[in-house]
């Protein structure tokens, strides 16, 4: 016996002071430190990527919330306009065809010269709005702030490297000179870009807005949520609580897991074939986008909801059944409220993925050029990620900041929806 112990001692020393033991302990600590540092390094790398993304998006995009305007004393000459104040008062529709672009061009040329274009192609729209509000302006000279061209806008925001050769920058020397003259006279100002926040797409970056796409995303998300949440939760409850365990339910389970991994473009093709070609629903409409994205989100919600239902302790079901509750009462009074937070988490994940999705929307025509904001579920619309995709493709330099601006809006939108969902989850959270 003693012999055996002494030999064991010699082979595997467990005495703390022995050098072998000390070496092992050192190695173990080293491994733990290494593991900890690898974890920290992974976190730092992820944080670094996020920081890089955020800084580049924000530094590129924050100026898109600002807009450059030029002061122009506008001469509302009734002859050039083709409408007099009396005519306009009698029939406001005459103003629709009035020559506002000509009036603005003349006024700009008079005040600032006409060597280069400094006001936007759509700058005259503000003039029409003003006269429609007050026809008495015709015949008067009114100082107005008019939206500048994208090039002047980029100059005023300091986005152009003035030290570069003329050929290496997107604006020419004449435009730089015009901008400097305006700055010297104080006829230029930078204000909050209400155009960007309230209008839809445009061919001119200075007139393009994000509201159309944001509203399109919002309408699409409502449809997606209205369909995928109840259907997903009901499917999960049935499968977990009521369905018999047989080959069919196994098959359904495998199919759902499979669907959750199917690339989104396939759902786009499905939406195109079913909703547009078979059911003849309108192309480019948020209702179709919402239905398509709901198909895509459903499996995610079903899986998450089933996991949440599984996590409800069986003792709660047993207790409820034991005091005489029916199976439906068990589900609606006990299981569902307890599983709801988990279901909401799954829904958030699914909705976040749906909101960032582009490919299926391209298939059903939500990649359209729209200058008007969608007014309903069946009106043509586009969505935020698609708008980002369209703008990033645009050759105009002014769209670079608009693209980043749209990304900021998308991130804020996601943040808002996620916070709402987290708030709801915490409200419903029940501890036992």
């Amino acid at each position: 016996m003693t012999d055996r112990l002494s030999t064991l001692d010699a082979v595997t020393p467990t005495v703390w002071s022995s050098p072998q033991m000390q070496a092992r302990i050192r190695r173990r600590y080293r491994q733990e430190r290494l593991f900890k540092y690898t974890g920290i390094a992974a976190l730092a790398l992820a944080a670094g990527f996020l920081l890089f993304l955020m800084t580049s998006v924000i530094s590129d995009g924050w100026t898109s919330f600002k807009q450059t305007e030029i002061s122009v004393p506008v001469v509302f000459d009734p002859v050039r306009l083709g409408v007099t104040a009396e005519q306009a008062k009698a029939d406001p529709t005459l103003l629709r065809r009035a020559n506002f672009p000509g009036v603005l061009a003349d006024s700009v040329a008079k005040a600032h010269g006409d060597e280069v274009e400094i006001v936007s192609d759509g700058g005259w729209l503000a003039l029409r709005e003003a006269v429609e509000a007050d026809p008495a302006l015709i015949g008067k000279t009114v100082p107005m702030w008019v939206i500048a061209t994208s090039n002047i806008d980029q100059l005023a925001k300091g986005r152009i490297d003035l030290d570069a050769d003329e050929g290496d920058r997107p604006v020419n020397d004449a435009e730089v000179a015009a901008w400097k003259r305006l700055e010297a006279k104080g006829d230029i100002r930078t204000v909050l870009n209400t155009t960007f926040l309230t209008s839809a797409d445009s061919v001119d970056p200075e007139l393009a807005g994000i509201w159309g796409a944001l509203k399109g995303s919002f309408l699409t998300a409502i449809i997606t949520l209205l369909i995928s949440f109840p259907v997903g939760v009901l499917a999960a409850i049935y499968l977990e609580e009521f369905a018999p365990k047989n080959r069919w339910t196994d098959l359904i389970e495998v199919s759902i897991n499979n669907l959750a991994a199917v690339p989104s473009i396939i759902f786009g093709l499905l939406g195109l074939a079913v909703f547009l070609n078979t059911m003849n629903m309108p192309r480019s409409a948020p209702v179709v986008g919402g239905l398509t994205l709901a198909l895509m989100t459903l499996p995610v919600i079903v899986i998450a909801s089933r996991a949440a239902i599984k996590a409800v302790p069986p003792s709660i079901r047993d207790a409820a059944l034991g005091i005489g509750a029916s199976p439906v009462q068990v589900v609606t009074h006990h299981v569902l409220p307890l599983a709801l937070p988990g279901m909401l988490t799954g829904t958030i994940l699914g909705m976040a993925r749906a909101l960032g999705e582009t490919a299926p929307l391209l298939m059903i025509g939500m990649r359209a050029f729209l200058t008007s904001v969608p007014q309903g579920f069946t009106q043509p619309a586009t969505a935020l990620p698609v708008q980002i995709f369209i703008w990033s493709d645009n050759v105009s330099r002014g769209f670079v900041e608009k693209t980043s601006g749209a990304i900021i809006v998308l991130l804020l939108f996601l943040l808002m929806i996620n916070s709402l969902a987290i708030y709801l989850r915490n409200r419903f959270e029940v501890r036992w």
Binding site: D121, L125, V203, M281, V287, L370, T378, R397
Partner: protein, 352 residues
């Protein structure tokens, strides 16, 4: 037991309501109140400008919807039928094929109006400091293809391509693949040069995908430099590098005549005249197709056509020219405007 049945009834009612809501949403396919346009991505930037100007000038109508689906895909959607579900206008960077017209007519879209909106010119240019160059479509293709005529690309200098050309390094600065100009360059120069070889033309009939690969693929060893989106940069680079050749839309050549000049192709210089009468080999007309039946049914379509065919849009100095469209000659514009006004339908004979 009563509790269960009530709850079950509730559950069924809830599900029923949900289904009814879905059905209601699905049935909201009311008739359309705005113009819907599909088709070519080359024509897309021009049509969107017209659409935007149209909605500015006619605030009583909703803004048109323009979708870039490509010419072929657009014409297919367009020809699927008449009625509010189908587009009113198709953008096309080529003429409609007789088969497509037949499809249209078979599906009920009997009267299709063809409007030539202008001309797209993709020109080769060089810096003014360099010795004047003269190229043929075949030279351009042989110098830039990844596999010229299906063989390995070995040309380093223009002399390797054509002994008549100088022994300067091949360096062509052009647009990236995302650009519409690049598509036009591929179609007009690369495929055009490729098809100068009868063997390649024959290949198109036997193996279209191989023909596409041989004729469209540009070499990636640095001879073709992608200049990004800044066309000014191409002009600037050509100014400092006299031996380089640039690929630009015609409107850019016109605006930078002080630093660059055109490279004649097959002996034809790129001028306003040669592009608008198609003697310059790299010019092609752009079209829109309109369903005459829809002009009477869709609000604003008549006015949209008026805007498109107005002189301030497609005329010389019009806003489309500022976006890079070469205006068609006066008589062509007049003829097409008349066609748009009278809604003269296209016939099979016109396309043959």
């Amino acid at each position: 037991m009563a509790g269960i049945s009530v709850n079950r009834a509730n559950l069924i009612r809830t599900i029923g309501l949900g289904a009814a809501a879905v059905a209601l949403l699905a049935s909201c396919t009311d008739s359309r109140t705005q113009i819907r346009i599909v088709g070519s991505s080359t024509v897309f930037p021009f049509t969107t400008v017209v659409a935007e100007n149209f909605s500015r000038n006619n605030p009583e109508y909703l803004a048109p919807i323009v979708e870039a689906t490509g010419t072929g895909g657009g014409i297919k959607l367009f020809c699927d039928g008449v009625g509010s579900r189908f587009p009113d206008v198709a953008n096309a960077s080529r003429r409609m094929k007789p088969g497509e017209l037949a499809d249209c007519q078979k599906n009920g879209a009997k009267d299709i109006v063809e409007i030539k909106i202008g001309i797209d010119g993709v020109v080769l240019v060089q810096g003014k400091k360099g010795a004047p160059f003269n190229l043929t479509l075949r030279d351009v293709y042989a110098a830039l293809a990844a596999e010229p005529f299906g063989k390995k690309q070995t040309a380093k200098t223009w002399k390797d391509v054509n002994p008549a050309l100088p022994a300067t390094r091949i360096e062509v600065i052009g647009p990236p693949p995302t650009s519409g100009t690049r598509d036009a360059f591929n179609e007009l120069y690369m495929v055009g040069g490729c098809d100068t070889d009868p063997a390649m033309k024959a290949l198109k009939k036997t193996d279209e995908s191989r023909h596409k690969e041989i004729c469209n693929k540009i070499r990636e060893d640095g001879a073709y430099v992608e200049a990004g989106e800044n066309d000014n940069l191409i002009v600037q680079k050509l100014g400092t590098n006299p031996t380089a050749i640039g690929v630009l839309g015609f409107s850019f050549l016109e605006r930078n005549m002080d630093t660059i000049r055109d490279v004649p192709i097959d002996g034809v210089p790129a001028t306003y005249q040669t592009i608008s009468d198609f003697s310059y080999p790299a010019s092609r007309p752009l079209f829109i197709y309109v369903k005459a039946q829809h002009v009477h049914a869709i609000r604003g379509l008549r006015e949209f056509l008026d805007e498109y065919t107005s002189e301030r849009a497609w005329g010389p100095g019009g806003y489309l020219q500022r976006r890079g469209l070469v205006p068609a000659p006066d008589d062509v514009r007049a003829e097409n405007r008349a066609r748009a006004e009278a809604l003269t339908p296209l016939t099979k004979g016109d396309l043959e």
